[in-house]
Amino acid sequence: MAEKVLVKGNEAIAEAAIMAGCRYFFGYPITPQTEISAYMAKRMPKIGGVFLQAESEVSAANMVYGAAGAGARVMTSSSSPGISLKAEALSYMAGADLPCVVINIVRAGPGLGGIQPSQCDYFQATKGHGHGDYRVIVLAPSSVHEIVDMTADAFDMADIYRMPVMILGDGMLGQMMEPVVFEKKESGRCVPEKTWATTGTEMKREHNVINSLYIEPNVLEKIVLERYEKYAQIEATEKKYEAYKTDDAEFVLTAYGSVARICKNAVDELRAQGIKAGLIRPITLWPFPSEAYLEHTKNAKGIMSVEMSMGQMIEDVKLAVNGTIPVYFYGRTGGNIPYPNEIIDEVKKIIGGDK
């Protein structure tokens, strides 16, 4: 039985990646995720792996492209402004069906913004980054322990679906220390062999080509349609969420990542004050667990999205409840973290004062 250790979120990601078989890491320093690079720089040479500090996030992400195309389990990490630069390679990897894991420890934006925690890159993670019709799987852990389990699964999903998987954390999650048990768990997933990778033909097969260029519209359309069939399969099977005290909830909060933990405190306190509150916490942000919202708001008079942003996930929440109940918003931005009492006050304001 592995022992319990106290570890920072960023370091937990790095160690979990190594346990998942990641032996190649290409990074570039940026606060608040630099501990991932520092950990990899220390560990990789000891286990026969590669840590390389690139000249830019653009270059690091394109090194990931090369290594992924060469058949390796490979990862890079960054924070908001750096993810904007990695967006190019994310699009190319999606277009060339390459598996990789990208960590985004979000900080406040736009521009240089600030280095404090934020969720202002939900749009970027779930709808955006690079150009083109494509998706990446986006996972949102809310504790250091969850990061560990999720990282291993992220590599398996990347390999199975041949696509980038993003773990979307925030500065709070990356920097906080929590007790963790590092145990190698079998996911039970069947990871296929990478027969498509550029490993050298050895004159035994046709040459493999890693590519996203298709000049003929009908050819490109067919390839995109096939990719979207894969996305549909992911939407059907990979959605994950946690419902907390929603069975009898008259008012439901929804939040992801570290904010979901703050919301749990708010739910408990609201219940102590006689208000039946609950929480829906999406664990996969893409695919977004839309069905959870109708199922867990049956008794609710309203739902409030709580975010460290000006309101981004709320758009998916509105689509999910589809007008059945009012959708409210409470958010802090700029690197500020919402406190439970702020959330409680907002809920009381909405439902009409103390009960």
């Binding site: 090194m63 090369g66 060469a70 060339a96 050298g200 080509v209």
Partner: protein, 247 residues
């Protein structure tokens, strides 16, 4: 009867899309001949650029990855770090390598990344229809320097081989051209030496091939070769700029 000339095995048996008189066809063949002669087709992984040579993945028989514009040295680095025992080369034009990919190129050289770059310098962006490149000569007319490149406002051409040879990580850098048979033979020797440098684990190697673009220069293939000789070679002198292979 003995066959004395044939398509190299490392070159796929498909029609190339290049314009008549373009230098890419010659250089593709030289690279493929070298791969054949060294017997490394099965252990070589190429990286294609964005530019006229974007379809190089259809032309080389070895495994190939298509990179984003300018990122070929980064992609090659990723491949080489995973497969240090394999031969990894990129094939890039001047816009790809010396403009949008300058950082990737300089840092691959500075790291002494054990890869080989075949760099085609024809002083123009070919695929997009003839715009000014970082290597466009002073006074040269292109679509985006219609009055001739004015160095006061449009800067000076970059001499890539000279610049990269100042990095300690560079092991072999030579500038060659393809305007005459002796020059083509020299170009092949340089390409072979670059691949051998990598096989010996000596570090970064690059061969700059001064080439032509008859279509976008608005010349016949013969005129283009003459223009290359009279205008490009004085600015881009041929020769070995860095050779640390004996070290």
């Amino acid at each position: 009867m003995e066959q004395v000339f044939k398509r190299p095995h490392a070159l796929c048996d498909v029609p190339l899309h290049y314009c008549p008189g373009c230098g890419h066809g010659i250089v593709h063949r030289l690279v493929a001949e070298v791969i054949d002669e060294l017997g490394i087709e099965g252990t070589t992984i190429g990286v294609a650029p964005v530019g006229c040579a974007v379809f190089a993945y259809n032309y080389f028989n070895c495994d190939v990855q298509e990179a984003a514009h300018g990122r070929a040295p980064a992609v090659a680095t990723g491949i080489k770090r995973v497969h240090p025992d394999k031969v990894v080369f990129t094939y890039q034009g001047d816009g790809d390598l010396a403009a949008i990919g300058t950082a990737e190129t300089v840092h691959a050289a500075a790291r002494g990344e054990n890869i080989t770059i075949i760099f085609i310098n024809n002083a123009i962006y070919g695929m997009t229809g003839g715009q000014m490149a970082p290597t466009t000569l002073p006074g040269q007319v292109t679509q985006t320097s219609p009055y001739g490149r004015d160095t006061k406002t449009q800067g000076h051409p970059i001499r890539v081989s000279e610049m990269l040879s100042t990095t300690s990580g560079a092991a072999y850098i030579e500038r060659v051209t393809i305007d005459t048979v002796p020059h083509i033979r020299q170009a092949k020797k340089a390409i072979k030496k670059a691949f051998e440098t990598q096989l010996a684990g000596k570090g970064f190697s690059l061969v700059e091939v001064v080439s032509t673009c008859p279509t976008n220069w608005g010349m016949s293939p013969v005129e283009a070769m003459n223009w290359l000789r009279e205008n490009m070679l004085p600015y881009y002198p041929l020769g070995v700029y860095c050779d640390r292979t004996a070290e």
